[in-house]
Symmetry: C2
Subunit: 342 residues, 2 copies
DNA sequence: GGCGGGATGGTAACCGGTTACCCGACAGGT
DNA sequence: ACCTGTCGGGTAACCGGTTACCATCCCGCC
């Protein structure tokens, strides 16, 4: 079923059918009706891929995330979707499951599909091969016309430019740590150490700098290694509590999800939040509100929108500085003010 | 930058370039290297849209949801994504924001893109225009080759066939209501009445039939109208409690999200869950685990996978019966066994 | 030496749209 | 009656790939 079939069926030429459907060319009403009737009778659906071949049509916006069922990604994806719709672009979402190779494959596929924007979200540990290939993509040296945006992820390398948007992780971690300090807490557990993991690294940096600013000596024993999921937070907290809980009064979990696991462990240990232990998280994703967690709110959707705008802006990836979005603390009920506080 | 440029640059013909890249045709190693070098030097990225025109390539799988940041949709989308990847299809996710017109537009766009499968997820209130247009799509009368699957949503009309997968909402609601009844509860609030809303309707039907089965008379005053979001659940519960809470001992919220709001209202009223009021939800989405909610677990991801399999199966939409996935109760800590229970 | 045949690679048609260019018909002006 | 301008619509080239078909070339064999 092609435009030629429709033309034959309507007794007109292909040009007339095309013009009738495009609607931007004067066509005799009687002719128009013949065409439209043929379209209806044959149930003709034009082929967008063929059209894209001859006329420059707006490309799609692709977003590549680890998985769509993690709220952090879902919120960003929602922002991307909104902005893509506002700019009249189709939105494709792909997931990698955290696999680097799969991510590279997907980016290549998107370029072959002539996606206009490819937005890469989330942390990843980069190796040399990955860096080299992704850098080519990011610099837009090829002819695919796809523009790559790194969204909430580390740079490709020391001084390697690329279109980048991200949250101020260090600033947020600094602020929430300062919040605990000003409530009188001095021994604060950092739950979520993962050296080499960019998100963890930047958050722990904020934690440390806040301690430094307040003249509190750092204690490596308070920086607890922990995966970025609920059960890791639960297990790490459980283990720490088994060793006695008198060496800290507050916990800064690297994410709300970790915090949720930690809170559960604290409760199972017979302790109360915030009476016995204060807890703060990061991200402001669903568990936070439900468990009354004080946390750092991230403008997820705005990040997604900013990524799309940046991708479609035509800015030069080689000179455009990274865009950093601010965060703010959301105070709920998980932090207790110590009597000894100033 | 086209295949002809590459051919010229490499000093070979377009056929040789195409064959070299396809890799399924014998090419002299020296020729192959010339081609690959040209590809690298020119940063050539083949155009998938052009290729799709001449060779029948697998289409994409499109999923259309209300919004991607609601866990219910996100989990289903994740299943769709997985199965699409397993079947080597690209996955496109689009959101409608619940707008019927936008949904129809998106479906039309997907057909023009020659998406192989279009999966429509979530509740919607159908009117005649919608029904008529969507029915044409669902029956696959056109030449786009797209196959439509309705996923967790009502049929298009009385006896209108279509490829359909869904959860057993009535069965799950029956089971969880029976769970409350066997714990000794007799006056159970149903929170989430929305006549005409298919999900609500089927869940309330299960609630009622469980009461009937146990010989408990229904009380319309116990069926509380309520929107399907957290704040509606909070508000409805708040209002109900203000009128006194002695006319019920348990609450069946139509969704976990409603339940989360209700639990908050209960707490703010100075009551405890489950000591004063038992609460159950539906869906088993994030708030449930965090607040220890007994609920009905839905195999979301499996539904998504089943939808993709059904779409790609080649089954006839006109005769294939709807596929219904079973559910099961997840018991947590939000239900109290009454002393008067058998 | 002539010839059959496998291995390579080139030419051109085709996929399904769009549109530049051209042609015929008809109206109005002289 | 003839010229010109406008309008409507047809023909064919083109977008960027793939591939059927054909032309070489070189080998071994009679």
């Amino acid at each position: 079923m092609t435009i030629r079939d429709v033309a034959k069926h309507a007794g007109v030429s292909v040009a007339t059918v095309s013009r009738t459907l495009a609607g931007d060319y004067p066509v005799q009403p009687s002719t128009r009706h013949k065409v439209l009737r043929a379209v209806r009778e044959l149930d003709y659906v034009p082929n967008a891929q063929a059209r894209a071949l001859s006329v420059a049509s707006p490309g799609a916006v692709a977003i590549v995330v680890g998985s769509v069922d993690m709220p952090y990604y879902a919120y960003i994806a929602q922002g991307v979707e909104e902005q893509a719709a506002a700019e009249r672009r189709l939105c494709l979402i792909c997931t990698t499951g955290g696999d680097k190779e799969r991510e590279l494959t997907i980016v290549q596929m998107m370029r072959e599909q002539r996606a206009e924007a490819v937005i890469l979200v989330g942390s990843v540990v980069v190796d040399d091969d990955y860096r080299e290939r992704m850098t080519r993509y990011a610099h837009g040296l090829d002819s695919s016309g796809s523009r790559l945006v790194l969204c909430g992820r580390p740079p490709l390398g020391e001084g390697v430019p690329a279109l980048t948007v991200g949250f101020d992780n260090t600033g947020g971690a600094h602020a929430v740590t300062a919040h605990l300090l000003s409530a009188g807490h001095r021994r604060i557990l950092y739950l979520g150490l993962r050296p080499g993991h960019s998100t963890s690294d930047s958050r722990v940096a904020g934690y440390r700098s806040a301690l430094d600013d307040h003249g509190i000596p750092r204690d490596p024993a308070l920086e607890v290694p922990c995966g970025f999921d609920r059960s890791s937070g639960y297990a790490a907290m459980k283990q720490r509590l088994a060793a006695g809980h008198d060496d800290f009064t507050a916990v800064f979990a690297a994410t709300d999800v970790i915090a949720a696991g930690a809170v559960q462990a604290i409760h199972e240990h017979g302790l109360s939040v915030p009476d016995d232990v204060s807890v703060v998280g990061y991200d402001d994703v669903p568990p936070a509100e439900d468990i009354g967690l004080t946390t750092v709110h991230l403008p997820h959707a705005e990040l997604g929108r900013a990524a799309v705008r940046l991708a479609l802006s035509g800015k030069d990836p080689l000179v455009e500085p990274p865009l950093t979005l601010g965060t703010h603390i959301v105070v709920r009920q998980s932090v207790r003010r110590l009597r000894s506080a100033p």
